[in-house]
């Protein structure tokens, strides 16, 4: 019979630890007892795609139903390109998501300051919006030197991002262009 990953896992779980490894010459009873004391975590599986290179390897992400954090991220054996395999980076994505050094609050650096200050989203979005409007209002150009209509702002520029989803990239370029930006670039250019 063709053994998929899930069938294999079910089979090995069905066999008890002792009998599966019986005949190896060591006693697994204490290990079995310890294993039974370890708490099981219940996880929900979702599929994703690796965020590093452009091969697009499939991932299976298991999220702890209690904590909402990832328990495990591995290759998706059903994906026709990677067939469950991952390179070192893809295999380490767990540490990208579950990383205590991630910045998880808005930070602000004031002019001349040597440190970051924590801020709220509301504050940041409002302050950024005010500044975008100010620069746009001050630099918006209806016509260029030739008298041709350009309706643009050359006082604002943006770079980024090949790391965003298609839907995010699309709204981002629409947002920037609706403001009149022409200096729009990202990773594809370098």
């Amino acid at each position: 019979m063709k053994l998929g990953r899930r069938e294999f896992v079910k089979l090995t779980a069905a066999a008890t630890a002792v009998t599966a490894f019986g005949g190896l010459g060591f006693d697994l009873a204490p290990t079995k007892a310890h294993a039974q004391l370890m708490s099981l975590r219940k996880g929900k599986e979702t599929t994703s795609v690796c965020c590093y290179c452009s091969v697009g390897c499939g991932l299976i992400v298991t999220t702890d139903e209690k904590t909402g954090r990832a328990i495990n991220i591995e290759g998706d054996p059903d994906h026709p390109i990677n067939e469950g395999a991952l390179c070192a980076k893809g295999a380490a994505i767990y540490q990208l998501a579950e990383n205590p050094q991630r910045i998880t609050k808005v930070q602000y650096r004031a002019p001349g300051s040597d440190k970051w200050e924590e801020k709220s989203w509301d504050w940041a979005i409002t302050e950024i919006a005010k500044r975008v409007k100010k620069v746009r209002d001050e630099s918006f150009t209806e016509k260029n030197a030739k008298g041709e209509v350009v309706n643009r702002t050359e006082g604002l520029a943006s770079v980024g991002s090949a790391a965003m989803d298609n839907e995010e990239c699309w709204i981002y370029q629409a947002f920037l262009r609706s403001l009149g930006l022409t200096y729009i670039e990202h990773q594809a250019r370098i």
Binding site: I103, R109, I190
Partner: protein, 804 residues
């Protein structure tokens, strides 16, 4: 990619050049191995002997930047040894086209070069047209003005001795390489090219790729299984972000950004819509007005088309606003505000010191990222006094990929939907949410207060971005696909009329309209999210036996355009519809039912009815390409910083039209004894790009903890450097420490009779983290770029190395 990852297994000969695929796209190596197991030859041509080289059947060393020499040599080899796939070349390429009498080439320059402006007037490169504007052809390929003869004449100079002298590739190895690869000129054999930054990051980058495209057309390798021209892109969604046009020069779907001299929508359409009177030319871009109108409506749903066009920001005619220009302007103080959104230019942009200084001129920066990085924190970088830096920085924490839902497009054009597992950590948010909130807030301000030309801001269609509060990727994906704005009746190919109700998804781009009755964010994604559902979320591995043979997987996710897996596949069959390679067809003509089987055919119609290269105005593969800024044929030029004062092909040392900045000239050196070593930058498996998303991961950083440089044993001996010791790399642009790796895998090149040494450096490090990990390779790279793309020449520049 014209083909896709799994398709590599179908190749008879895989050339990897300008790429270290085994180390930087490791999982794709499965498919290279399967090709090898089936008997394919794998050839690696590269300045370094890497893991790719160790797995290849053949490795040929070449000096960084000398690729056009080697490829030009192969073109000459193909012509001299009569190895072209003749029927393919005659009927599917522009080899037979006649070129204008005014075209000429002399001593490294094509006709029409203007010294003062450093630009070409391309009018003398045009084809000779008949009275219908269709290029005249010589089907005997003997006319001295036909493309084939011009090609032959152009590459006459590229004999293997000259090529070997300039590239440092041993002549016998070159000939063995040419022999193996050109064997794919046989009709039923296919060869493929896997390339990456080793080709793009040069002032001749586009011509590197053009040279290989010419080879692929001569050998009949385009459009077939195991063939094509395959860019191994570097980021998980750089294909998608390019498709969605986060670039100055294009808008979504590869249409040109409007220019000021195209005053009205009609002017835009007239200037940008090619017309062909050749009844066999599909000339697909003739439909551009439909795609542009639909895009305008996706932005500005309530506005009429002329108004929507007026609202689009315009570039000046001929204006270049690409990356290197952007940072040059930033240094000159042009920008008050800047978004570094999911990017780290302080480490990724050529000439890091220039880039970092430029950032200090900003009033404010918005830095969206997962971790602290060299860009958002530039104000406390090495040698920087924060008290002197006025720039406000807003660091907005964004979600990791596995925490959000949406699609990304891989290098094989597969749009793949992914789901959210864990929630965004802490207060981090998906980028989509951040963009949406910011857009809504700015609109709110423009509603409340007076401001400059608020119309496009207030008119922007944000209704389709979410529910007014939360970003909805499904809604946006549906907008990108497009939907009908009015009830629309369309007559199908079978003559049957169908009514599409307003609000229903457009099933294919053939139904997009030029009159404003459809909206579509990106025509090449139309058919990805229809009323039948989200095609990019499909996980069906059903295949017909023919599809399975070539590994098409048409039911797994969705590829643009219209789920075609191998583009230009019309060229995979002869004029009667018979596959050139009957053992691995991607198309077959079902005569009984009058339809094409296996892959989605590129341009409909019966066999032989249409020219196969449907995106080209004249329908032919372009051996001669009159539209590029540096010439219709690739020509050898040295990198702008090079170790020689001359080369054998002409007196023109460097590209006469390369992008460069006068103010940086004092920082560039050529044949300067103070900086005698060629330096090239590259990647390792464990890190990615500037390392922002890998340097913080202990599993990866423990394997690759620090900045290093690789050098040959010969260079190490020359400079008294031992393996493992700290060295300093330097040139007028900057300085960088690195741990020296002295290795047999790098060898000096013999170039024009002299040894040229190579130093190689990874570009993954930055001063933020880890402490004592090193800093950016780009401290040494020059802000000079390709004249077509503006991509910086970060693969070949000059440095010195000394003990620390």
């Amino acid at each position: 990619m014209t083909n896709h990852w799994i398709d590599f297994k179908n190749s008879d000969c895989i050339l990897i050049m300008g790429s270290n695929a085994a180390e930087n796209h490791p999982i794709c190596w499965k498919w290279v191995t399967r090709a090898q197991e089936a008997g394919a030859t794998v050839i690696h041509v590269d300045p370094r002997y890497t893991r790719t080289s160790s797995k290849a059947d053949m490795y040929v060393p070449l000096r960084s930047g000398s690729d056009i020499g080697v490829l030009g040599g192969m073109i000459k080899y193909i012509i001299d040894n009569d190895l072209t796939q003749k029927e393919y070349v005659l009927h599917y390429t522009n080899a037979s086209f006649l070129v204008s009498k005014d075209f000429s080439f002399k001593d490294g320059l094509f006709s029409g070069f203007d010294e003062a402006s450093r630009k070409y007037d391309k009018s003398s490169w045009a084809f000779e047209m008949d009275e219908n504007g269709v290029p005249k052809r010589d089907m005997t390929l003997k006319d001295p003005r036909c493309v084939y003869q011009i090609l032959k004449k152009h590459y006459e100079r590229y004999d293997s001795k000259k090529v070997s002298a300039i590239s440092g590739s041993p002549e016998d190895q070159l000939l063995a390489f040419y022999k193996a690869y050109t064997a794919t000129g046989k009709a039923d054999k296919s060869g493929t090219i896997l390339y990456a930054m080793g080709w793009t990051q040069h002032t001749v980058g586009v011509q590197n790729i053009r040279a290989m495209s010419i080879i692929q057309l001569l050998l009949g390798n385009m459009g077939v299984a195991g063939g094509g021209v395959n860019a191994l892109r570097g980021e998980s969604n750089v294909q998608g972000s390019t498709d969605q046009a986060l670039l100055f020069h294009i808008i979504p779907g590869y249409m040109a950004t409007p220019r000021a001299n195209w005053v009205t929508l009609e002017d835009y359409n007239k200037a940008n819509t090619p017309a062909s009177k050749d009844p066999k030319s599909v000339n697909w871009w003739q439909h551009k007005p439909k795609y542009f109108a639909s895009l305008l409506k996706s932005f500005y749903k309530e506005a009429d088309l002329p108004t929507a066009y007026n609202w689009m920001p315009k570039l000046d005619a001929g204006q270049n606003a690409s990356w290197l220009v952007l940072f040059d302007k930033m240094l000159k103080g042009q920008f008050k505000g800047f978004f570094a959104w999911g990017m780290n230019p302080a480490a990724s942009g050529a000439d890091s010191n220039k880039t970092r200084e430029a950032l200090s001129k900003l009033d404010w920066m918005v830095n969206v990222n997962i971790f602290e990085n060299e860009t958002g924190s530039f104000w406390k970088g090495p040698g920087v006094d924060p008290k002197k830096i006025k720039t406000e920085v807003f660091f907005l924490p964004c979600a990791v990929s596995v925490e959000k839902e949406g699609s990304i497009t891989n290098s094989g054009r597969w749009m793949q939907w992914r789901y959210a597992g864990p929630k965004p950590m802490g207060e981090s948010k998906p980028d989509g949410d951040i963009i949406y909130e910011l857009a809504l807030k700015i609109r709110e301000l423009y509603k409340k207060e007076k401001g400059a030309f608020p119309d496009p801001v207030l008119g922007l269609n944000v209704d389709d971005w979410g529910d007014g509060h939360v970003f909805d990727p499904h809604k946006v994906a549906k907008l990108i696909n497009g939907y009908f704005l009015k009830d629309t009746t369309i007559k199908g190919a079978d003559g049957k009329e169908t009514v599409y109700k307003a609000g229903s998804q457009v099933p294919s781009f053939v139904m997009l309209q030029a009159d404003g009755s459809t909206c579509s964010g990106n025509w090449i994604y139309t058919a990805s999210y229809t009323d039948k559902g989200n095609m990019s979320a499909r996980r069906d591995k059903t295949q017909t036996p023919e599809q399975a043979k070539v590994g098409l997987y048409p039911g797994w996710t969705w590829s643009w355009p219209v789920n075609r897996r191998v583009i230009y596949n019309r060229a995979s069959v002869d004029m009667t519809g018979k596959p050139w390679a009957p053992q691995k067809p991607v198309l077959a003509w079902d005569e009984a039912n009058k339809k094409w089987l296996i892959d989605v055919v590129d341009g409909g119609g019966a066999p032989g009815a249409k020219h196969p290269f449907i995106m080209q105005k004249h329908g032919m593969g372009q051996i001669y390409g009159p539209g590029l800024n540096d010439g219709p044929l690739p020509e050898y030029y040295e990198p702008l910083e090079c170790p020689v004062t001359e080369h054998p092909f002409s007196k023109q040392l460097n590209s006469p039209v390369a992008l460069m900045f006068a103010e940086d000239a004092h920082k560039r050196t050529t044949c300067d004894p103070r900086f005698p070593f060629v330096c090239t930058s590259y990647r390792v498996t464990e890190h990615w790009q500037t390392g922002v998303l890998t340097r913080w991961l202990p599993w990866l950083t423990e394997a690759q903890p620090q900045m290093f440089c690789e050098m040959s044993e010969e260079l190490a001996e020359l400079k008294g450097i031992t393996n493992g010791e700290k060295v300093i790399l330097e040139n007028p642009r900057g300085q960088l420490w690195a741990i020296a790796i002295v290795t047999k895998r790098l060898k000096p090149f013999e170039v024009m009779g002299n040894p040229v040494h190579l130093i190689g450096i990874p570009w993954h490090y930055g001063w933020v983290w880890p402490k004592d990990g090193g800093d950016a390779a780009n401290l040494l790279t020059p802000a000079v770029g390709d004249p077509n793309t503006g991509i910086p020449e970060t693969k070949a520049f000059m440095v010195n190395v000394k003990k620390a």
